[in-house]
């Protein structure tokens, strides 16, 4: 029996996005944004949009695949998939699901997409407005612990205390995203650089997070197209193969009221080993990383849990010069990421991971054969994926 793996079985052949907007500023309906991103990805792939036969998304995306398929006039719908739970932690898992469907013969051409128009719907960073509250939030909201930032600051504070990580380490992560956004015209923060003083003088949102440690909230849509590896060679772009994908969380990550045993964690302790095992690479083989910044502290723990450095080495490793393209030790968030390109719920990171392998990034590495994307730290489930060029197969 063949080994059960996705390694080299599928390729990402098209990527597309809309213009990225500040939240509430998209001129188009969220559903229209989703359609535009999907059509852009199909055009990039050189694929007739009517040939798309599957859809995968995450975080309860509101744009139903059957409606999209009807709107686009696709010939048939064979795969309609939603990663369950974890919000932005589902980005790489959605790609994994699409890949599994294609590799397993459930569909031939699956689009992974995410669309957000928060002006038309509720925003993420607001507390609950109801008069009463029950369930897990009842143990937190009455104490003023309500938003994602407030929820995850508690984990990061513990991690920084335990391992002696300094604020400057978080600052370097924010600076790297802003640095890369300055060469990316798509980025919402293009032309709005960040320096150490601006970071240090910015207000606290919740200690240990300054303003610039927190992601933006944006409107827009992004999409990518997954097809069988064999088919990728006949399409216009250099194929970008999926080497591995992994999702989930370790023991009792969903324990209520901050009782997960491995508390000061980005939730990748069990996920990352599966990823490396499938991809057949080691941390030292990874050329470039896109790591979801809901908050910089989550990136810190994600990089530790993916084996790039030990917690005690965080202060030494997390310096701006190590994190920037083209010559840093580990170029990080080379499009500007959630902090400075666009908070497209992380899917813009998948697109950037593809661009690096193709050689099309606005902060391009000389060689990016192995490209990692890490989705949604500190939630459960989380997920991550590794892309590779033809040379890695």
């Amino acid at each position: 029996m063949a080994p059960r793996t996705l390694r080299g079985r599928v390729a990402i052949v098209g990527i597309g996005e809309t213009t990225y907007y500040k939240h509430g500023q998209a001129p188009d309906a969220e559903f229209k944004l989703a359609l535009m991103a999907i059509l852009n990805a199909a055009k990039d792939a050189g694929i007739d949009p009517r040939d798309i036969d599957g859809f995968a998304s995450y975080s309860n995306d509101r744009n139903d695949p059957s409606r999209i398929a009807a709107a686009l006039g696709t010939r048939e719908l064979r795969f309609s998939n939603m990663q369950w739970g974890g919000g932005g932690g589902g980005g790489s898992a959605a790609v994994g699901s699409a890949a599994a469907a294609v590799a397993g013969g459930l569909a031939d051409c699956v689009v992974v997409f995410r669309a957000l128009a928060q002006g038309q719907f509720a925003r993420f960073g607001q507390g609950p407005q109801a008069k009463t509250i029950s369930g897990d939030m009842a143990f937190q909201a009455p104490y003023g612990l309500m938003s994602p930032g407030q929820r995850y600051a508690m984990k990061v504070m513990r991690f920084m205390h335990r391992h002696g990580v300094k604020q400057e380490a978080l600052r370097a992560i924010a600076l790297a995203s802003y640095h890369h956004a300055q060469s990316n015209p798509r980025a919402v923060m293009y032309g709005r650089p960040l320096d150490e003083a601006k970071y240090d003088n910015s207000r606290w949102i919740v200690e240990p997070f300054h303003l610039y440690d927190c992601c933006m909230e944006n409107d827009g849509a992004a999409a990518l197209i997954v097809v069988p590896a064999e088919r990728a060679r006949d399409l216009p772009h250099k194929p970008v193969y999926l080497l591995g994908a992994s999702g989930g969380s370790d023991h009792r990550a969903g324990a209520p009221s901050h009782n997960v045993p491995n508390y000061a964690s980005a939730t990748f302790a069990s996920v990352a080993p599966h990823l490396y095992a499938m991809a057949g690479v080691k941390p030292g083989d990874v050329d470039v990383v896109q790591s979801y910044e809901n908050f910089t502290g989550g990136v810190l723990m994600s990089l530790v849990e993916h084996g790039f450095f030990a917690p005690e080495a965080a202060n030494d490793f997390l310096h701006l010069e190590n994190l920037i393209a083209p010559r840093g030790k580990l170029p990080l968030n080379t499009s500007g990421g959630n902090l400075a390109e666009c908070y497209m719920h992380g899917l813009e990171l998948q697109l950037e991971g593809v661009r690096q392998v193709r050689g099309q990034s606005t902060a391009q590495l000389p060689k990016a054969d192995v490209s990692m994307v890490i989705s949604g730290p500190m939630v459960t489930p989380v997920s991550s994926m590794i892309l590779g060029s033809e040379a890695t197969l």
């Binding site: 960073g125 607001q126 507390g127 609950p128 407005q129 109801a130 008069k131 009463t132 509250i133 029950s134 369930g135 897990d136 939030m137 009842a138 143990f139 937190q140 909201a141 009455p142 104490y143 003023g144 612990l145 309500m146 938003s147 930032g149 407030q150 600051a153 508690m154 984990k155 504070m157 513990r158 205390h161 207000r203 606290w204 949102i205 919740v206 200690e207 240990p208 009792r252 324990a255 209520p256 009221s257 901050h258 009782n259 508390y263 000061a264």
Partner: protein, 148 residues
């Protein structure tokens, strides 16, 4: 020990038990000034937050047991940016995650009473402080912490 003036401004969501009643004993306990934690009758294991089953032995036979209101600060944060209208003009406040050695180090969220600008130390000993809202509709009680 009970607190005086509420730590946070009024108008935050009032905690109530779920329609299925899972956490009802906890909230009733707080109103009586008692801190209750779930404990499995079969394996004697503690668990928090409440669930319908013991995660260690899968028994459904769970008890609610009063524990001493003594703990240690496991983590903390100082919130500056309000995300709820009731806190708009409140200023900073401190939230602590407290582990309870008497109940196998289960952790609970609360506020750390005192100066909101105070330095906070992970590992510091704290004691519970009940904040009763008897006139609220519905009435409820919160469990805060103060340095011991």
């Amino acid at each position: 020990m009970a607190t005086g003036k509420p730590y946070l401004s009024p108008g935050l969501p009032i905690p109530v038990a779920e329609p299925d009643g899972l956490s009802q004993p906890y909230w009733e306990g707080l109103r009586q000034g008692r801190l209750l934690v779930q404990r499995c009758k079969a394996c004697q294991g503690w668990q928090w937050g409440p669930e319908w089953i013991c995660h260690r032995c899968r028994s459904f036979d769970l008890d609610w047991v009063e524990v001493a209101g003594k703990g240690r600060i496991y983590s903390w944060e100082r919130v500056w940016h309000p995300v709820h209208p009731a806190l708009k003009d409140h200023g900073p406040y401190v939230v602590v995650l407290v582990e309870l050695p008497a109940a196998d180090n289960v952790r609970m969220i609360g506020n750390l009473l005192g100066d909101p600008h105070q330095a906070v130390s992970i590992g510091a000993s704290v004691a519970v402080a009940f904040e009763h809202h008897a006139d609220a509709d519905p009435p409820f009680t919160l469990a805060h912490w103060r340095l011991a």
